[in-house]
Amino acid sequence: MPKSQFIDPKVIRKAGKITFGTIPVNQYNKKLADERNHFADGDLIRIYRDMVIIREFETMLNDIKIRNEYHGIGYNHPGPAHLSIGQEAAAVGMAYHLSVDDLIFGSHRSHGEILAKGLSAITKLEDGDLMSIMKGYFDGRILSIVEKERNGNVKDLAVRFLLYGTLAEIFARENGFNKGLGGSMHAFFTPFGVYPNNAIVGGSGDIAVGAALYKKVNNKPGIVVCNIGDASMACGPVWEGISFAAMDQYTELWDEAYRGGLPIIFNVINNQYGMGGQTCGETMGYGIAARIGAGVNEDMMHAERVDGYNPLAVIDAFKRKKKLLLEKKGPVLIDTLTYRFSGHSPSDASSYRSKEELEAWQDVDSIVTFGEDLVKEGITKKDELENIRSVTVDLIRKILSLAIDDSISPRIDLEKYPDAIGGMMFSNGSVDRFDDREPEVLMPLSENPRVKSIKSRERFYLDKNGKPASKAKVFQLRDGIFEAIIDRFYKDPTLVAYGEENRDWGGAFAVYRGLTESLPYHRLFNTPIAEGAIAGTAIGYGMAGGRVIAEIMYCDFLGRCGDEVFNQLPKWQSMSGNLIKMPVVIRVSVGSKYGAQHSQDWSSLVAHIPGIKVVFPTTPYDAKGLMNSALQGTDPVIFFESQRIYDVGEQFHEGGVPEGYYEIPLGEPDIKREGTDITILTIGSTLYTAIQAAEKLQSVYNMSAEIIDARTLVPFNYDPVLESVRKTGRIILASDACSRGSYLRDMASNITELAFDDLDAPPVVVGSRNWITPAYEMEQYFFPQPDWIIDAIHERIVPLKGHQAKTDWSVTGQMNRSQAGV
């Protein structure tokens, strides 16, 4: 909503029409002879060799999966193997011109791309650099295996390194590139520019865009290639990723130095099937996938279909498209036509395609035809090609025997180190900044208008006269978040923040008010309404090495980025064998007043997924300290905020919210009010409900309540809670989440186990009803109220003299509601 862009009715109401340019389809028509000026003979032979290596690698896996044997070596691999036999020219052609700085992201069927990009990087890297990469990786552990029988130069050694590291990864061996924690569908090797492939179809569609954003924002060399399948063009994350990559603002609004399109190629490796669904003619309507580019932007994404059965055609296309990206004309869409001979997986009976079709493609097998061309052109001889193939078979046999030998390639010893994987779920780092350059800001921090306005606010809820300060004068929870964030913007040049209405508007709830004044566009911007891309690009941005805050305007919209939050964000640190860091904070605002789709506390859903830290502060002091910790860390954090309490002042921390920097470690609950008779553990804004309940308990029933604010759901230190229960013997847990499946239930269960002998009654959970959230006027019947807490104490924990419960806490009531599913 920049004011600089005037939406003039006179202009836009004019009659007109959209005209499309042309999208080239298989226009490459050069012969090998035509290209000999551009390629040395050795390069052409190497193209052939790379295709053969990929073919043989995949054939070996196919044999292992189907026959449990490859050239006399037996092995059983129960895990996945989505093979790309037949697609080699597409992979090698894609990788040929990519430099080590260029990053590729992949799909579930990406062994070929990993090897092609790796082989390309090996060719381009100096021997010294190669050696230092291999020596540095896991302290040279992988290198030490392949180095033993070294009988060639460094590049040959590196090829063995690449093949062994990849295969060991596929076989879940600790010597794999990701310690065996990624596997076939998640193998990658970042030193060669190979970023994660992804087991979720289209999963890379927005993550790769985030990596491209990182390149652009941080002026890093290189482009990003998002290798996805033709069927993934139907997936939300891909569309959202494309939309995010094609935003006008890159060319219209970003500062001169950052102006221009994202350096990303969406490379549709179009093998014409999504598992068994035929994308052309059955499951999609685009006919030719490149057509999609026409609808995205005026550049039509420079879309083009290339013949992926001719490696030279693909190489040509990538050379041209990479040039476009370096001219800041991205994004680009390439539709690389190919075909897989192998099934979707070894269990594929190919019932969806005819034998004739398969044979017709095998007749134009790119390896065979390219080999014939090489011989015809006199570049090499037939027996030399034969030699390449037999050397490759020997190489793959050798690598296989190394990778399946338990003494050479053991798996992580979970008997001996039962917590080995647990130890890799988080990186638990503490990093001030992810780059040393000066952060790009528009003014000194002290001149920021909001910083100036906050200065005069009361940092405790009472003013100097001991009276509650007015909302306009008090330092609010949103100010606490703001202070932490703007502080980090001035410290870490890689930090970017984005989401819906983040710039100009200042965020829907004014947390970012004032940030726009301090930050150039490339550090704070508005996104399309595409929560999948908001979260997904943040993942790619973090993975590539930058720090990012993505905002989900309402918690209810988390469903829109379900795959990103549940499958991607939490997994990549551990699936990488702890090599990747994920300094991503996703701010999620929990609503109220707006009914069933704008008022849900879903912190429990997120806390269920291993690999994310989950924070929910409720006071300005905690919000600032916890946000500082989240932004200092290297782990993904979902940072919940409640719209009910953005405006509260600090009521608990003596002296109010400090002006300087401080951190509150994640995982430490905080006692907000001391008491002796009952403990109330709260998550989120229910803290204030509990305070009201505690007041009444004290004044009417002479019961002294101790209130503990969880502050963080994951991780969580139970010590203070158990200590409190030792004292009080009773505990009630409350939050605004629906009570069924609430994280409080998990806590209650843990407390029961950990403090059973201290308990005078079972821990009781007070959550919201298992309904839709009704209108604001009826919310008191839905969200926990102070009286609910007192009723629950009276009915379930300790009867209070003279108390009459208004709400139903009967056993029958609970059972009947459960039986009814509410």
Binding site: G729, F756, L759, D760, A761, E795, S810, M815
Partner: protein
């Protein structure tokens, strides 16, 4: 209208009773006040009288059954009346589960209200017994116990606290949800239920040897009665948990025998006052106890509780087994008063209508066990924990003695065997105390 016969509750702590004998048979006509059946608690035996006139229509509980108190055991009414509704709920399920509440119709008594252990149980029960058993709505079952719940619900914290303070939790009424005993109930428990410290908590022997294999068939297996079980437990507990040993001494009872002769002579004259040798020994012992208060005490592990007054336990042999009723505040009594009270409690024991509270070992501060009547010359009585000593009284034998002035003759002496807990008392004071009893006996000069 048929009415249920309810198993009475004898004392706060009683949860179940065992029917020992049905005096009346099914179909017999009974009158109000007739003895219907005998039953016993873990401490005493009782007879149950009929509270109605009519025909004993049905007997729900048989001899030997362990029955929760305040549940129905039989039905009395007019001939031909249906008594299904008076069945205890558990009988419908065919299995006796002591923790399951029994149901009786609400209208039969204000005190006995139908109730179930929980709503879930109730629902199942309702489904099975539907029309036959009128069940109360959930509200009553949900929350407050009405005191008839036989399952002890106690929070883990309260349980630990009860153990710590030595509170017998089964004697406490829970005020928590659903009648649960919670911490505040333990804190406010009456003092007497806090008597036994946890050091004295009895533990079953870790291993009971398997004696079930015996030669031939020439024997009969009889299940232990409750009283037997209690005695077994208490005796084993005493032997295994204390450090007891016995000192023996003899007292010249010429004076006592003369007094006894005088009592007999007066009774021949028509006096009803029958002061026995045992009464006199007990009286002498009470006097000695007042001089040695450390013997008149309970050993509580971490502390010793010394009583200001003597609450004298007296071992009584009954057909049901050994019982030890207490005469409270015995030190306040005259010899005649003591004699009457001792005879009274012994009689109640033999009849089986002693107040069970008077049988608790914690109720007495010292015990006397007299086997003299049976000709026992020497024995080692076992202490009733947490008391610290017990006096065994033996038969009278004759012993040569210096009668003075160089004359020797035989005098009657009574053997006294004092078992004491060495944890509480050392040998010196114990001996001095025994000597004091001897002296009190020899110098006995109470008016008869």
């Amino acid at each position: 209208m048929a009415v249920p016969v309810i198993m009475p509750r004898q004392g706060q702590s009683v949860e179940t009773c065992i029917i020992t004998q049905w005096i009346k048979k099914k179909g017999e006509t009974v009158k109000k006040g007739d003895i219907l059946f005998s039953y016993e608690t873990d401490k005493a035996s009782f007879d149950a009288e009929s509270e109605a006139d009519g025909i004993l229509l049905e007997i729900f509980r048989q001899e030997g059954d362990e029955v929760p108190v305040l549940t129905s055991v039989a039905a009395i009414g007019n001939k031909g009346e249906n008594v299904d509704a008076l069945q205890p709920e558990a009988a419908l399920h065919e299995t006796v589960r002591p923790e399951t509440e029994k149901t009786t119709p609400a209208e039969t008594s204000n005190d006995v209200r139908s109730k179930t252990t929980g709503v879930y149980e109730q629902k199942r029960g309702a489904a099975k017994a539907s029309a036959d058993v009128p069940l109360q709505k959930a509200e009553a079952g949900d929350r407050q116990s009405d005191g008839t719940d036989t399952r002890i619900r106690i929070s883990p914290r309260a349980r630990a606290m009860a153990s710590e303070l030595g509170v017998e939790s089964y004697a406490i009424r829970g005020t928590g949800p659903n009648g649960r005993i919670i911490v505040r109930d333990i804190e406010s428990a009456p003092k007497e239920t806090k008597a036994s410290p946890k050091q004295l908590v009895y533990k079953e022997p870790a291993e009971i040897k398997d004696y079930t294999v015996a030669p031939g068939t020439g024997y009969e297996d009889k299940k232990l009665t409750n009283v037997r079980r209690l005695i077994a437990r208490a005796m084993h507990e005493s032997i295994s948990m204390s450090a007891q040993l016995t000192h023996h001494m003899s007292a010249d009872v010429r004076h006592l025998l003369a007094l006894r002769d005088k009592v007999k002579a007066e009774m021949a004259q028509g006096s009803t006052i029958n002061i026995t040798l045992n009464d006199m020994v007990c009286f002498a012992t009470i006097k000695a106890l007042q001089k040695f208060p450390e013997v008149n005490s309970h050993f509580l592990g971490e502390s010793i509780r010394t009583f200001r007054k003597v609450h004298l336990g007296i071992a009584v042999d009954t057909p049901r087994g050994l019982m030890v009723p207490v005469v409270q505040n015995a030190s306040d009594l005259s010899l005649q008063g003591l004699s009457g009270r001792l005879a009274g409690v012994a009689d109640q024991c033999r009849k089986g209508n002693i107040n069970p509270e008077l049988l608790a070992s914690t109720a007495a501060s010292f015990t006397v066990s007299n086997l003299g009547n049976y000709g026992v010359e020497l024995f080692t009585p076992i202490i009733n924990l947490p008391q610290v000593a017990i006096l065994g009284v033996n038969t009278i034998t004759y012993r040569p003695a210096d009668l003075g002035k160089g004359v020797f003759g035989f005098i009657p002496v009574m053997g006294l065997s004092l078992t004491y807990d060495h944890r509480a008392i050392d040998g010196g004071p114990a001996t001095l105390f025994l000597k004091e009893i001897k002296d009190q006996i020899e110098a006995f000069n109470e008016k008869i």
